[in-house]
Symmetry: C2
Subunit: 370 residues, 2 copies
């Protein structure tokens, strides 16, 4: 049975450690989920993901539905066997891509009409259709279809969006209850723009629907960082304590450390993988731009204290050369390092919470970077 | 001590099995050398190269000299530590790149003046300079600087080219003998265009210089396949039997099977790696274009009988999806398959020679493809 349990809680912050149990394995929280948009976490193998410590990855329903398409995934009985990842997968609903990527997305009560960003073909997602696709992907954690608003949005639009999101969440819940064949989870997504009263309204309405888990959506859409943190700070305590809370699409290492302190349990973001492909590497002492000339003759690893495959084997000099030469190995080695950094950070976060020194950990984390 | 020994020879063809011994390990011949142009065999790690059975790889002196540059490689005492490949490396001399890639290459008695294809900067390679760079790369097999002619070239130009190549070979040999600090090998390169008399002249002149090994250059430059095979057939027996013979830049699996039958011992070619990045996969039953629609729903591997990582784990359907989506994993998985195919083919070739059934092996190889 899908379950979540809080195992230890920080005494001076809202940080907590827990465990999500799924049919495909346990996930210690707080957790970061690498993004595998189209059936592959870009540039890395499933073995490398496991070596980096990934317990769960994210797949994008919008992308997978368009390419390869459900006829292909159905041949394999779902996404796991197609991409040979046997640990849990969380799939998003498509809601964020209708906001960020699809062409001419038109939201009505019934659902979203949109055109593919790949070939302009026309499609329609109802809340039921989104869940149906996610069930076919055999996802372990399914997300409700939501309406994500641009920033800034006015109060009226944000209210309209959250209320539609609640009605869709209810339809998703019904469809999921009646159609799932395996034990998996459905998460509701809180919307409400940057308005505390609307975030509260959304959290209350979704709370009544009693989801196995909750996400906070509509953050990291262009708002100032303080606003993002304020919204999370305000919203997290409004959601049931004993359910996992997932902050969607966030963020920097600093964001993760801050949000865990506010009670967040789950994260996903393209930042470690995308930045890797742009030569930006994360370390405990801040970011390293591997293309900088200062690394040309530097035979030391990116981070002396890092235990990843890349740092154990390769120098800054070599990584810079690969990156400048656009060698494909550059993207792999950089991605391994960044994912290891993110996943190791979550591991350190969990240790700090278990040992009830999260506030000290957070201060130390920031001190190392300044 | 660098050495080569013929261990078994086919009774009905000129194929032979041998062993090249180097300070960095033994190489069973006939062998295929994956091309690691700029300090990386594109898309694959050194561990994957070893898993595919690579005993030696090739590095390009021209590319490495321009980028990262010798100041960088010198920090690591050579190419091996820079790229973390601890098995033998053969480096070419730059001769082929002056022919194929560099801008405004100007050949004089002294050497070659050229402009970088990367930034247009001006450089000069003498035969001595080419060997000096290869010694700094700490290459295990060093190639003499040669003049490679375009196809077609007239008899006069080809004669002039081979004679310059011989004079340069002599200079390379002197410089190498006086400056090498470690046990490595220097190979002479036979030129002479598509003229049997000139190939003979070149082979005789180089034979007198007594190199540890010999290459046949200036093939696969646009001539018909039969001409290439005729030139190899004519030239190989003119070179010392007890020295390894390397056919540069060739070729298809068919070329390799044919050339081994003519007495060739070593090969390099970008074909398995480049074709992989273009979705063209090699199999015992011919080429597979992974982007073809027929693979869309095909959950079988590229080759049921292939033992490579890609075929053991992934379907044609998934590989097609990755390729169509331009996922970086497509290039890796395809490259692993193609390199495994080439290196496994060489393994089968060696077995067939050892069991003295090379002619039968060759017929069977062709029968499977038709």
């Amino acid at each position: 049975m899908f379950s979540f349990e809080v195992l230890s809680a920080s005494s001076d912050t809202r940080a907590r450690c827990g465990i999500i149990k799924t049919e495909r394995g346990d996930i210690e929280t707080p957790i970061f989920m690498p993004v595998g948009t189209a059936g592959s976490v870009k540039a890395v193998s499933v073995e490398e993901l496991k070596d980096c410590g990934a317990a769960i990855i994210l797949g994008n329903t919008y992308h997978l539905y368009l390419r390869p398409g459900m006829d292909v995934v159905n041949v394999f009985g779902g996404l796991h066997d197609f991409m040979k990842w046997d640990r849990p997968i969380l799939t998003d609903s498509g809601g964020f891509q209708f906001f960020s990527l699809a062409k001419l997305a038109k939201f009505t009560e019934e659902g979203v009409a949109f055109q593919s960003h790949i070939d302009g073909s026309r499609h329609f997602f109802s809340p039921e259709k989104s869940v149906e696709i996610q069930l076919s992907l055999d996802s372990d954690i399914i997300m409700c279809l939501d309406e994500c608003l641009p920033y800034p949005a006015d109060h009226k639009a944000a209210k309209k969006g959250l209320e539609l999101t609640t009605r869709w969440a209810s339809r998703c819940r019904t469809f999921w209850s009646e159609n799932r064949k395996r034990d998996n989870a459905l998460f509701g997504i809180v919307q409400g723009g940057m308005f505390p009263d609307l975030r509260k309204e959304s959290a209350m309405q979704l709370g009544e629907l009693d989801f196995p888990g909750y996400a906070i959506g509509g953050l990291s859409v262009g708002e100032p960082k303080n606003t993002m943190l304020e919204m999370a700070d305000h919203t997290i305590p409004l959601l049931p304590y004993d359910k996992p809370k997932y902050i969607m699409g966030v963020g920097t290492p600093e964001d993760l450390v801050d949000l865990v302190g506010l009670g967040a349990d789950m994260f996903d973001c393209v930042m470690p993988t995308r930045n890797a492909r742009n030569g930006k590497l994360f370390t405990s002492f801040g970011a390293v731009n591997i293309s900088n000339a200062c690394h040309t003759l530097d035979n030391s690893p990116v981070d002396e204290n890092c235990g990843c495959y890349t740092c154990r084997n390769y120098s800054r000099s070599y990584l810079r050369h690969l990156y400048k030469s656009r060698e494909l190995m550059a993207y792999r080695l950089n991605t391994i390092h960044n994912l290891h950094y993110y996943l190791n950070l979550m591991k350190e976060i969990r240790s700090a919470i278990r040992e009830d020194r999260y506030d000290a950990f957070r201060k130390e984390f920031y001190a190392k970077r300044s």
